[in-house]
């Protein structure tokens, strides 16, 4: 590569954006492929039922693995006798925890889970042994022959009880208070600020215990080759890399001897954002017997292993000055961690960082603790760490607006942040159209004309929210780029993008194809995407933190610089013009000054490759890393790096509800949403993500809750009793993409899959208040709660008459 090329290639803005050599009159936003509503690349095979999921795969010699699960939520394992199981014809192997004692966990500082329980079980349904057998029936029969002797321990299901009884019962011996982690973050002078406030409200909020409800249960197929010592794992995961890493730790095999491949994946929503026992068990059994082993969870096992959203018990105090500007937030959060740490520490501090946006807050105090209980572990779930505090804050603001006698819309507009905003914890927001989101949602729904004016039983509510786009830090100490991609161009395969991104159904393969096409000047239909493979693809951290569109986009842009330079140089010779005056668009290469000088892009590729062979470009993305400090004092604050991100997406929602005051049922009739997702790479996909986001949290707000009995046993570990809303519950939706372009981001993009879940809880809760005059501080808001509250309200009204 010439010196000049190198300079152009590496001279990038933080977003991977190359500003050099772009003539002023050429509008960088005039896209042809980005911004197209194209169908998903994986759409047709899925619709026809031809997509191959891990559970569809059958390898020669493949056998089946099943997991024996604990019938106690907290107990010492006295003895496991599997001799009878081994004698059953067709059983090939049985393993217990001792065979893989290394601890795993996505946050390495706190990793404390073993593949199968060793010595003690900490939640009902925890794996205690696993069997490989020639078919599933035999494996199931073998499980029943395994005898486990337990000595029950007291079961702690409530985090407050867990802390109170820590002197008597410990869930983890190394956590003396039954607390995974506790922390405090203080910015500014909170007491002084509250003393100066005109309006101060303090409330307690309690969220529920929902789960993702993805359709495809965790599934893994492992094939170990004893000859080469190579492990190949096909798995339904969001995080091929973190899984890869943890497999290496648990199996004690170097990463370069393990390959993780993702077949089609039926959803994750965060639930597959941690390794699954299915993956470890399949791998361990395969290594033990030298045959491929397939493990697919039953639906109840998905519930048993959970990793859903943390129930949060939040005490919130907010203060406004006379004009209604937010002066201070004091926030205390107790998170229910369940049995093992997982994402816990990260979630704890996300709930802290979420206090700083989308409003300007000059004084903030956070105190929080993530507490172990004998429940299936909580983990990452769409909108991680944001949903619970957002609900509390947007509800308390609704109350404060009422106290002030102004519209909640006015209060939000007054406090909403704008572009180039630095929060008190040093989080930097390069770009925000949040105010435009609020305006659009209010205008299109007629909020101001309806709020407070609808007949009893009907109500309208508003709330806003945001989410990170991309992430600033890896979960273990490391400075390598978060994403690497490789693009190959030649006449045989056309354009191929090779990466390790995980398309879990969110559609990243489609938007990546669009971004490659845009950058190379071809059509999205011309691009092949090879993703989700740690061997074929280059490095990628995984699908979480709404990072892929941003991170892949930046890496793709960088990879294309080199390819485009060579295409231009080749075409320049063919056309007799200067290379730096060439434009690549719509499968053509042409001079920007003499537009008659043009040649099909494919011809140029042919000319180049016939002399030099395939064209290959590499690209990386490393996010900017800002330290979490108190910007007034400059002091470091523990856990405050968490929540920083290259950019942020925003959403505002207006929900209209009808409450049946006799049955207590709540019907969400209409949702008007406006979102700032930067450039919508695929507007149709954005609509899908936003509608999906709203339904996702409409479910957790009104229907979904995992219930346990006093012994910690699941009462509703199936889709019959764990109610998710169906399409029949889907309200009319008016989703709007506001005009937005973040100049620091590749193609101007931001997230859209998690910001739009944030306003749903509070918008519904506020709408219910508008309808029946009752504020709810517990989720989900069930018909029984509505009837009870109405009865109490009536009693209060009667007694005050």
């Amino acid at each position: 590569m010439a010196d000049k090329d190198l300079k152009t290639k590496w001279n990038l803005t933080p977003g991977g954006w190359n500003l050099e050599g772009v003539p002023a009159y050429q509008d960088e936003k005039r896209f042809t492929q980005v911004g197209r509503s194209v169908p998903r690349v994986d759409g047709p095979v899925k619709v026809k039922g031809e997509a191959v999921y891990t559970g569809d795969m059958i390898l020669p010699g493949m056998v089946y693995g099943k997991i024996k699960r604990s019938t106690y939520a907290h107990a010492i394992i006295k003895k496991i006798d599997y001799s009878k199981a081994l004698e059953l014809p067709g059983v090939l192997a049985v393993i217990t925890g001792e065979e893989a004692p290394n601890k795993w966990g996505i946050v390495p500082q706190a990793a404390n889970e073993t593949v199968l329980a060793i010595g003690k079980v900490r939640f009902y349904g925890e794996g205690v042994a696993a069997v490989a057998a020639v078919d599933e029936e035999t494996a199931e029969a073998a499980l029943e022959l395994i005898e486990v002797e337990y000595e029950p321990l007291p079961v702690l299901l409530d985090p407050f009880e867990s802390m109170a009884r820590a002197g008597e019962v410990l869930i983890h011996e190394d956590s003396p208070k039954n607390i995974l982690h506790e922390g405090e973050q203080v910015y500014g002078d909170i007491d002084k600020a509250f003393a100066e406030c005109e309006y101060v409200l303090e409330r307690e909020f309690h969220t529920n215990y929902p789960q993702h409800g993805f359709l495809e249960p965790q599934t893994a197929l492992a094939s170990y080759d004893p000859q080469s010592g190579q492990m190949h794992l096909w798995a339904s995961t969001q995080i091929p890399h973190y899984l890869h890493r943890q497999l290496s730790i648990v199996l004690e095999i170097p990463m370069n001897k393990i390959r993780v491949t993702l077949p089609a994946i039926g959803g994750g929503f965060g639930g597959k954002g941690e390794a699954s026992i299915a993956e470890f068990v399949a791998s361990l059994l395969s290594r033990k017997i030298g045959r491929p082993v397939s493990v697919t969870f039953e639906r109840n096992e998905v519930f048993f292993t959970n990793k859903g959203r943390h129930p949060c018990h939040m005490k919130v105090k907010m203060g406004l000055d006379k004009e209604g500007y937010i002066k201070a937030i004091d926030f205390d959060n107790t998170l229910d961690k369940g049995a093992y740490s997982g994402w816990g520490m990260v979630v704890l501090f996300y709930t802290a960082s979420m206090l700083h946006l989308p409003y300007e807050v000059p004084n903030v105090r956070f105190r929080g603790r993530s507490v172990y209980t004998n429940k299936p572990s909580t983990g990452a779930m769409r909108g991680l760490g944001g949903v619970q505090p957002r609900w509390a804050l947007e509800c308390i603001m609704d109350e404060l607006a009422e106290v002030m006698g102004i519209s909640p819309y006015e209060l939000k507009m007054k406090n909403a942040i704008e572009s180039s905003h630095t929060c008190i914890n040093n989080m930097f927001v390069p770009h925000s159209e949040y105010k435009k989101c609020l305006e659009t949602a209010v205008e299109k729904s007629g909020f101001l004309e309806k709020h407070g004016k609808l007949p009893f039983g009907k109500g309208i509510g508003i709330a806003g929210g945001y989410y990170i786009s991309g992430t600033a830090y890896t979960l273990y100490q490391n400075y390598k780029p978060h994403t690497s991609v490789m693009i190959r161009v030649d006449t045989e395969a056309g354009v191929t993008l090779m990466c390790a991104a995980a398309d879990i159904g969110q559609g990243c393969n489609t938007v990546m194809a669009q971004m490659v096409a845009e950058e190379l000047g071809v059509h999205y239909e011309d691009v092949h995407v090879q993703s989700g493979d740690t061997e074929i693809g280059a490095f990628d951290l995984g699908s979480f933190a709404s990072r892929l569109t941003y991170a892949s986009g930046a890496a793709i842009k960088m990879a294309c610089v080199e390819i485009n330079q060579k295409i231009k140089e080749t075409a320049a010779g063919m056309l007799g013009v200067r290379a730096d005056q060439l434009v690549l668009k719509n499968r053509e290469v042409y001079s920007m000054y003499e537009t008659k000088k043009r040649i099909p892009w494919e011809k140029v590729v042919e000319a180049y490759t016939s002399i030099n062979g395939s064209l290959v470009g590499l690209g990386n993305f490393s996010p900017p890393r800002r330290k979490g400090i108190d910007i007034v004092t400059g002091n470091r604050v523990q856990g405050a790096n968490i929540g920083h991100s290259p950019t942020f997406g925003f959403s505002a929602q207006v929900h209209e509800v009808e409450v049946d005051v006799e049955t207590g049922r709540i019907y969400v009739k209409k949702v008007t949403e406006a979102g700032d997702c930067g450039t919508p790479v695929n507007p149709m996909s954005v609509d899908g993500q936003v509608e999906g986001s709203i339904m996702f949290n409409l479910g957790a707000c009104l229907y979904e809750d995992q219930k346990l009995d006093a012994n910690g046993k699941h009462l509703n570990p199936n889709f019959h009793d764990y109610k998710t809303p169906t399409t029949m519950e889907m309200p009319e939706m008016d989703t709007n993409i506001v005009e937005s372009y973040d100049h620091t981001a590749p193609f101007g993009v931001k997230e859209t899959g998690e910001g739009a879940v944030q306003p749903t809880f509070p918008a519904i809760t506020n709408a219910i208040y508008d309808a029946i005059g009752v504020r709810f501080y517990n989720l989900p808001i069930t018909p029984e709660m509505v009837l009870k509250a109405l009865k109490e309200k009536k009693a209060v009204e009667a007694s005050s008459k």
Partner: protein, 287 residues
């Protein structure tokens, strides 16, 4: 390990002569939407499955000649929902069918299975009670007619003899002017097992005085029950506000709901009142 033999008899006679029927070790399979779930959960372990799908006597909805209709036990829930005879004459049946499960379930599930499974939450049973359905039970040697109310004994318990099959359901002709309704209450609009169901058949004279009334309550007792005291309280009355709330209260007192993961007994009881009132109101205009 668990093994199952599977048979597909072509005639009713053949089915009733099967070993599994004689020995009581087999189970009739209709849509399988209850049976297969129970087998999978190991609630039952039959040795033979005898599929009823090919048997002609169990199919179709026909007029009986005396103004009533005969529904073959293997008619699917979707078939009930779309039968013109049922839609015209017994609309509460069609309503209940429409509310049962999901499209996939309705395509497979049968009316016979819904009755014989004897769940207290079975959607089709309430309307069958208020329409006074008669069940045609057939064994190799005898055929008998039993009122649905006498057939249902408790949860999963019926008067079906060991060697009997439910062949058909007969709905008698209704006196002119009878209106009927089925209201189902759950937490969501579809794919829901009833928290409470209320079926009402009502006939009033030209002046709006109620002459006859039948009310059945679903999912609030060990089996679907008739609310006889509520029915009696209605006879001779107008559907005014006072009557509505009085009858709703009596209906609430008539049931014995349980508390479970889906709802509390109190809530279910309260919904019996609400649904009874709403059902009666919706029939208020018909005479």
């Amino acid at each position: 390990m668990f093994q199952l033999a599977y048979y597909e008899p072509q005639t009713l006679k053949e089915a009733l002569q099967m070993d599994g029927v004689k020995k009581g070790t087999g189970k009739f399979l209709a849509g399988g939407t209850d049976l297969l779930v129970q087998i999978k959960r190991r609630k039952i372990e039959p040795q033979e499955l005898i599929n009823l799908k090919a048997i002609p006597e169990l199919k179709g909805v026909q007029e009986t000649g005396d103004g009533g209709i005969r529904i073959g036990a293997a008619v699917t829930v979707k078939g009930i929902m779309e039968s013109s005879l049922i839609l015209a004459g017994y609309p509460a049946m069609a309503q209940a069918a429409k509310e049962l499960g999901t499209p996939q379930v309705r395509n497979r599930a049968t009316i016979g299975g819904n009755i014989v499974n004897a769940s207290p939450a079975a959607d089709l049973v309430g309307p069958l009670l208020v329409y006074d359905a008669i069940l045609l039970l057939t064994s190799e040697s005898v055929q008998r007619r039993v009122k649905i109310e006498d057939f249902l004994l408790g949860p999963s318990q019926t008067a079906l003899g060991k060697e009997e099959v439910l062949e058909a359901i007969e709905l008698p002709a209704l006196p002119a002017g009878t209106g009927a309704v089925y209201l189902k209450h759950g937490l969501r609009k579809t794919h829901e097992i009833a928290l409470v169901g209320v079926s009402i058949a009502l006939r009033s004279d030209g002046q709006g005085v109620i002459e006859d009334c039948r009310i059945a309550l679903t999912a609030v007792a060990p089996k679907v029950i008739r609310a006889r005291e509520a029915e009696d309280a209605l006879k001779g009355c107008h559907l005014d506000d006072e009557t509505l709330s009085r009858v709703a209260h009596i209906a609430e007192a008539n049931c014995l709901p349980i508390s479970d993961v889906r709802a509390s007994a109190d809530y279910r009881r309260q919904m019996v009142g609400v649904l009874t009132k709403r059902g009666l109101l919706s029939l208020g205009g018909s005479n």
